[in-house]
Assembly symmetry: C2
Homo-oligomer: 467 residues x 2
């Protein structure tokens, strides 16, 4: 039963399980106490901190444990924003950060009125160092950039952005949740956050590293634990398991990365061959070794996930934080790529080749089944199946109001054959996804996306047939 969603949460690594069980007897007491049980717990905590710091590439006294990666991000961001308040309230983030970063940015904006600048990304989901540097201002207190994107796997130019930040005196927080298991983050970052359950450690453990010299003032109520940066009683057995498994995962990382990269390459190459009308998104080379994302035209993402689950494949669609909403993932939107029928595959360490082969066998039937149910154009569908006509007729209007993704695009494709070359078709839609998917359809089909204009109900998206 192949689980292909390691980027959400990885199954517990055997070393994590072993370390957890071994430390249940010694790790339950309060490490701040001076008696025997407390000293033992304290020793475990110290050793875990040293191991984790070594893997991160920082000093043990620069690293604290938090209850999750989300807490690490929230604490790291608010600590710098408070500590550098005299510099200003400016905050710079990439447009494709994890929702925990964007939520903290929104909370900062709401609470202080500080301006948040979002750095745009290219079609692969990457920022460029120059664009990022251009977003830094005099009053920028903090900059945030993920090491690699959680939805499409694209690696960010962290070292170059860190250098740009350093030269302007702005601390850079790197959210390394998706990459820390694969290796340390290079470059002169100032803060780093991560989450143990992403590399096969237990849930309940995040890491926050803050380099010496970074002005940091914890916000909100604190206590004396974890250098005053993460309040609450530490879960030491989980922390021990997190550190032990990080070390174990790192020992296997180089070889496993090569192996999984080959499997992902196979998916990247084969899926567009096996399934018509697919767009593979994310950078083809500068990417996480285990993660690949693609979108399928004329497919409802939830239905696709459901059918894949029935076929025993567990995958995700965009970010967990948006999969239950009606809006497409903010990452895909920022990239300007097709969002419908989006599938993210992230292979856990140890995924056998046969599981990937089986996925490639199953996928075409699953996609065509979903398309059939939706009444999508068959084959490579759309414009190609109808003979073009010359001359410009009356403009065609497709009313897709009240219909959800992927119906507006399906309806567009269905009528497109009737549009003469040079003529336009207007799609009326009140579905947020249409704003992303209609231009993406035009790009995939080589047709011209004219633009959108307000309509009595919803929005009118105009497409011109050029071939």
């Amino acid at each position: 039963m192949p689980y292909f969603d390691a980027a959400s949460s990885a199954p517990l690594h055997p070393v994590a399980r072993q370390a957890l069980q071994a430390s249940l007897d010694e790790g339950w007491a309060d490490p701040a106490r001076l008696y025997r049980e407390g000293r033992r717990a304290g020793l475990l905590l110290d050793a875990a901190r040293e191991a984790a710091a070594e893997a991160v590439g920082c000093r043990p006294d620069e690293l604290v444990f938090t209850p999750s990666g989300t807490h690490a991000v929230h604490a790291g961001m608010s600590g710098v924003l408070s500590g550098r308040r005299r510099v200003g309230l400016g905050l710079t983030v990439s447009a494709v950060e994890h929702s925990s970063v964007l939520h903290a940015a929104a909370a900062h904006e709401a609470a202080t009125g500080g301006a948040v600048s979002e750095v745009p990304v290219d079609r692969y989901g990457a920022v460029t160092p120059d664009t990022y540097a251009g977003a830094l201002r005099e009053d920028t207190a903090l900059a945030c950039l993920q090491s690699a994107n959680h939805e499409v796997g694209t690696e960010q130019p962290v070292a170059a952005v860190a250098e740009a930040c350093r030269s302007r005196g702005v601390p850079l927080l790197v959210d390394a949740a998706q990459s820390l298991g694969w290796g340390p983050v290079e470059g002169a970052w100032s803060l780093l956050t991560a989450s143990a359950h992403k590399w096969g450690g237990p849930a309940g453990v995040g890491l926050l590293a803050v380099r010496k010299g970074v002005r940091f003032a914890p916000r909100g109520p604190a206590d004396e634990r974890e250098s005053g940066r993460s309040p609450g009683f530490q879960n030491i057995p989980a922390i021990v398991a997190a550190a032990a498994s990080l070390r174990a995962v790192r020992a296997e990382a180089a070889a496993e990365a090569v192996r999984l990269r080959a499997l992902v390459d196979r998916i990247r190459a084969r899926v567009p061959e096996l399934v018509p009308d697919v767009e593979v998104v994310g950078h083809p080379e500068h990417r996480l070794p285990h993660l690949v994302t693609f979108s399928c035209l004329y497919v409802d993402g939830e239905a696709l996930l459901h059918e894949l689950d029935r076929a025993d494949f567990s995958v995700s669609s965009g970010s967990s934080c948006t999969s239950s909403t009606l809006t497409p993932s903010h990452v895909l939107r920022a990239m300007g790529v097709l969002s419908e029928g989006n599938v993210r595959i992230s292979l856990p360490a140890g995924t056998p080749e046969a599981a990937v082969d089986r996925f490639l066998e199953v996928l075409p039937g699953v996609v065509s089944g979903v398309r059939e149910k939706l009444g999508a154009p068959a084959g490579s569908g759309g414009a190609g199946t109808v003979a073009g006509t010359d001359g410009v007729g009356a403009p065609l209007v497709v009313d897709a109001l009240g219909r959800r993704c992927p119906i507006p695009v399906i309806e567009l494709a269905k009528v497109f054959g009737e549009v003469p070359v040079g003529g336009t078709v207007t799609v009326l839609s009140d579905d947020e996804a249409a704003r992303l998917d209609i231009p993406a359809w035009c790009e995939m089909r080589g047709q011209e996306y004219v633009g959108e204009q307000p309509a009595d109900h919803g929005v009118a998206y105009v497409v011109r047939r050029v071939s």
Copy 2:
């Protein structure tokens, strides 16, 4: 090796261990995902929530899991203070709350300027419902009261205070960290918080119950987990273990409470007989079954703990949050009782009678050893050993500047025999503990504490010999 500090953290209950191990295979995936692994994790989480809610006495949808009791307190307090901002910024707490409550109160005061009223306690550490009710004002947004005190075990009149709050429309948050394993909290509370590692569950799990109808607006960045009240990926195996062990501990609670209460009664009765100059603090009847606290004159708490640890007894002194500082515990200070040589004993479930007997054998020698090293007055010491003289001589001054607890009290006791009945002695001290311990000494010795006055250095504490 008897561990007598269950109030800090209890060893893992066998049921918690079992449940933890059993759920490691099923509880690692994201419960928000719709695929098989996610659904399984979600089912575990739902079942744990139902079990915990039943033990708390609330609806499952009123209960969220947090990463610790501290997080539950912080989230609960800030949520109500934000949600009821239109009512006002007033916050009422007892003077003997856990530091997590007091830290959140201080953060509230610092961030918003809202006034915090501290309700005083009696010599047993309890508030009275009338005094508490009198502290509620028009602009009181939230009231907090622990179910039982963590340092001295005294139970608070929660049901009466809850009624007083209810009649004034003020929600009451009950910190039930120390008592939830023994039973549900009675009365019409509005919010309740607790911490699993206090009842033998794993660390990393707190509970926050918020009754329907309480205005609640989570502060700071949130996500979609735990009803938006506790962000970050849930640690489901730990949550399952917490709920299972709460149920198991409750099944044993009635019988174990009777057994431990008898052991604690024995300590309460025997310690003052076996060790001279001891004050047992906390309510003799309205108290937690497993906890007893006493203070020993002329004894340094840290030295006492160290010697008890050498004799294989793990106990604590006051709150963990103050044991490493130079100031006496805020609880003992609020009670106005002796703080020097303070020992808290909290028996974990299953503590054998023989361990308590052995403690009572060991304690007298340990205390007299510490006293001897400090040069404390022997036997019942102090005034009793010197014949009183009539008439008032020149006022005696003891310079204890720069000397830490318990030295100022020891120096007072040493010279007290030279003071004629009716005469005074002045102790100069710059140690915070003297403010508490010199009046406490007077009470124990039946002498008159005249008062304090500022001095060139430190404070002058004046004592009159009356017998």
